[in-house]
């Protein structure tokens, strides 16, 4: 997509979003409806969803430029600017939506009420959910438009990635997983720029949890606009809570995994990682007899041979 077209897409999306926001908020503030703040917020959120998704798609398309260089001065590009922006945006969404969603559930469970009105908790939850929806639409479009598939296991490669993932697990768990999935642990596949833990386990489970919470949240949010059958709403609510639980675990696991691999943390800020540091991280994930030494030649190194994420 050319620069001018990108600019036009962004401008059109922003204009439509602004017009939509004015219409939605003026309806909510008109006082013509007998809704309480909680129900009013629900309508505002649900009516805003198409605009939020469209805005995410527009920004995803607009940023769909490949990065110029793969490596420089001993550094490898691990994440593009677009991925970094999307990652931190969805993080902000989680920080807002996850604790507030958790409180809606847990508060009812332990029968404790905060001194602030419940609609404010819901309002923050909706703002967080809107940011997550924007980020999901942005990521899907951005990766589709750039052809970025670094974290996706290619067709026919699942066994190799699962074997690599099993090799990264503690011995007892490794044997259990290998037995269940009938993996050959004598194989020691070489990872690319991402560890097998990231490609075979972490990214697929993020995708599943995000898809589940998005779909079920959408159904829950639309229940006052469109009559959702009771059983379907019950299932959607149950699965929404289940997805919330899964996401809480995912956040903990993500932090647990990346913190001791510090170069991965800095790469999600700068986009770059030192070649030596990346080799060390990959070598530390499994006891691979054929792991490349830190000073191994570039031509023998799958990390450096791999294409950078755009």
């Amino acid at each position: 997509v050319g620069t001018a077209v990108r600019g036009l897409i962004i401008l059109a999306a922003l204009a439509l979003a602004a017009a939509g926001a004015i219409a939605i908020l003026s309806q909510a503030a008109s006082g013509a409806q007998p809704w309480d703040p909680e129900l009013s917020d629900n309508f505002v959120f649900f009516k805003a969803i198409p605009f939020v998704l469209a805005l995410g798609v527009a920004f995803g398309l607009a940023r769909s430029r490949g990065s110029s260089g793969e490596r420089r001065d001993g550094m490898v590009r691990r994440f593009s600017g677009g991925t970094i922006v999307g990652h931190w945006l969805i993080t902000v969404g989680f920080v807002l939506a996850l604790p507030t969603g958790l409180w809606q559930y847990l508060g009812g469970l332990i029968d404790v009420h905060l001194p602030i009105p419940l609609y404010l908790i819901y309002r923050i939850h909706y703002i967080g959910a809107a940011i997550i929806l924007f980020a999901v639409a942005y990521f899907v479009t951005y990766w589709w438009a750039t052809g970025e598939r670094s974290l996706v296991v290619p067709r026919g490669e699942w066994r190799r990635h699962l074997t690599g993932f099993a090799q990264e697990l503690p011995a007892r768990l490794r044997r259990m997983v290998a037995e269940r999935l009938r993996l050959d642990l004598s194989q020691h596949p070489e990872p690319g720029r991402f560890t097998f833990y990231e490609t075979a386990f972490s990214f697929p489970t993020w995708t599943f949890a995000l898809a589940l919470i998005t779909i079920t949240g959408f159904l829950k949010a639309m229940r006052y606009v469109y009559p959702i059958p009771g059983p379907m709403l019950y299932i959607a609510s149950t699965l929404h809570v289940a997805a919330m639980g899964l996401l809480i675990l995912k956040v903990l696991d993500h932090l647990r995994y990346t913190l001791p691999r510090w170069p991965l943390m800095t790469a999600m800020v700068t986009g770059w990682i030192r070649e030596n540091a990346l080799r060390r991280v990959l070598a530390s994930t499994a006891s691979r007899p054929n792991a490349p030494a830190p000073d191994a030649g570039r031509e023998r190194d799958p990390v450096l041979a791999a294409r950078s994420e755009r």
Partner: protein, 71 residues
């Protein structure tokens, strides 16, 4: 700073895990829904507790040895 922030996150999750674990046996709505709902809450609480402890351990390790932070 990052390690301290994540340590606080881990502690908050331990507290929440505690509520999940106790609610599996004491919350009226969960007891009414039956053993499957209780089991899910129990599993979630145990998983949260385990991962929180693992995260806290990594945070403390990093705080004790800041030299681990290198790019």
């Amino acid at each position: 700073v990052v390690a301290v922030g994540e340590l606080l996150w881990a502690v908050a999750n331990v507290i929440i895990a505690f509520f999940f674990l106790t609610s599996a046996f004491t919350a009226k709505t969960v007891i009414k829904e039956g053993p499957p709902a209780q089991a899910v809450l129990l599993l979630l609480g145990i998983s949260m507790l385990t991962l929180s402890i693992l995260l806290a351990r990594e945070c403390l390790r990093l705080l004790r040895r800041p030299s681990m932070v290198e790019t």
